[in-house]
Symmetry: C2
Subunit: 301 residues, 2 copies
């Protein structure tokens, strides 16, 4: 495969498959100039897509709610994603699909008249928290200098690139010696961080924020696995106090799975090592990546 | 000039000048994938830049506050903008400059390590409200389905592409028969709309929102012109009631100047025609585009 031009990744742009290093989008695309876009990321693990239909369904729901009218549908997108992965040859991949409002092709500023554009790419799997940093667990900071964009402004359940607040949180985390940050809302309720949902195991129950957050597929997987494992779980609002007092804390993302938190704002959580519940769910999460009910294999050539 | 490849616009990307139709940015740029970017737009009118230094200063302030460390500075950017306009031959141009966090070139997700990227382009002048629609005045809708992203989440004084809320407002305006929308904040105070600030002339004073908005250069120009014209003006919070009761309302943007509003939520403002104060300031605004103290001529070849 040394001569595979797509070995570092393969993108799909304007009906063409392109090596990732050369993949470019029009500078005038309002997906860039207005961040008028919804996207999704699905993982390929050991040559199999994980929960592909759930990711495709969320993307479709998002573009419908943004009132886009793309000229591709889920069937074609599914084929494109398979082709991106197949060409790259990647067995573990981070596969992104992007639906953009696109470009004004009629001399208008009216987004209803734009030609929506679909982009996709497969690159090597990305870890928000690298495997070697997951074992000790990370230091999570509760941002004080930024709140999460409220759902009344931008709906977080339509997965989007409005990350200005999350990036502010990330810089604050670095300044305070943290690995990453979670943001509160204007009422002080915990929401989410740059690319992840958050869970606490507190007083015998697994809790994740009910609203103001992306309804993550990994988050959903955790809730489903908890049910099969007999672990009580609920969606609920909670503040910084619960996060700090929790027995266990972990963050979840397609980019890294179930990632243990060892410290919050400099204070050790539980034993300071990945807890029992976290470890159990993480184990089941990765096992699920090889189980037929969750996965769709790629046919590599 | 019929054979000028840049006649429709000229972009600057990766040290090259490119016809706008071919101008593309890397799909992996976090300016796109995280909207991690600040930008500015300056007008060229009758062959002269308007308030170029003010726009350059705002861009520089923005990238510093985002803690970017670009390898170009204001001096080089100024030269690039002149060259984009010069190559295009455009006498009336919309000139955009974009500073993006750029691309991870070290296999890291840490934005501190990214190589920031500068992009620019000049295209024909854009009107948020077309001249023929400015004479009767537009129908402005006060959005009810979206609030403006609060400054505590994303700072609106760092000019940015987080337009999800503004685009929601725009669709709501269309649904309600409006031309465009202005968004309230969570307390019901009026903020701004997609690409513009708003002014009311109410009880003998010109008022524009004090906070939660971009500190627009056209907004500043209006305030400075009002002072020279002896029109009382102030920055203040106000709600939908003041907007509806005002004697005159107009919106301001580099993309269209001073644009009269004739109706708010279907109700006529003042006489229903551009008011005296609006007309006076608009006249002075366009005159200023030919005055030496505000302008910098382009040397076309």
């Amino acid at each position: 495969m040394a001569d595979n031009l797509f070995a570092d990744g393969c993108a799909f742009i304007d009906e063409e498959y392109i090596p990732i290093a050369e993949a470019r989008i029009p500078i005038l695309d309002t997906g860039f100039l207005r961040s008028d876009v919804t996207y999704d990321v699905v993982a390929v693990w050991n040559g199999k897509f994980f929960r592909l239909e759930d990711h495709l369904n969320r993307l479709e729901k998002g573009w419908n709610r943004l009132r886009m009218k793309p000229n591709v549908g889920k069937e074609e997108i599914r084929e494109i994603l398979f082709e991106c992965v197949r060409r790259s040859g990647l067995r573990n991949a981070y596969v992104e699909m992007i639906m953009s409002r696109g470009i004004d092709e009629h001399g208008s500023r009216d987004p209803r008249r734009f030609s929506n554009k679909f982009y996709a790419y497969a690159i090597p799997y990305i870890w928000i928290v690298k495997p070697e940093d997951q074992e000790p667990g990370i230091h999570l900071v509760i941002a004080e200098k930024a709140i999460r964009i409220p759902a009344t402004a931008v709906d977080p359940t339509i997965k989007n690139f409005h990350w200005g607040d999350l990036t502010r949180g990330l810089y604050e985390a670095y300044d305070r010696g943290g690995y990453t940050a979670v943001l509160p809302d204007s009422d002080g309720h915990i929401t989410e961080g740059p690319g992840f949902n958050v869970f606490v195991y507190h007083e015998g129950t697994l809790i994740t924020p009910a609203s103001g957050v992306l309804e993550g597929i990994t988050r959903r997987t955790v809730l489903e696995l908890a049910e099969t494992l007999g672990i009580p779980a609920e969606l609920s609002e909670f503040g910084a106090d619960v996060l700090k007092e929790a027995d266990e804390v972990f963050i979840t993302s397609t980019a890294g799975g179930i990632m243990p938190v060892a410290k919050i704002n400099g204070k050790t959580i539980g034993t300071g090592k990945p807890g029992k519940i976290t470890t159990l769910i993480r184990k089941r999460y990765w096992e699920a990546h090889d189980e037929n009910q969750w996965t769709t294999p790629v046919e590599y050539t």
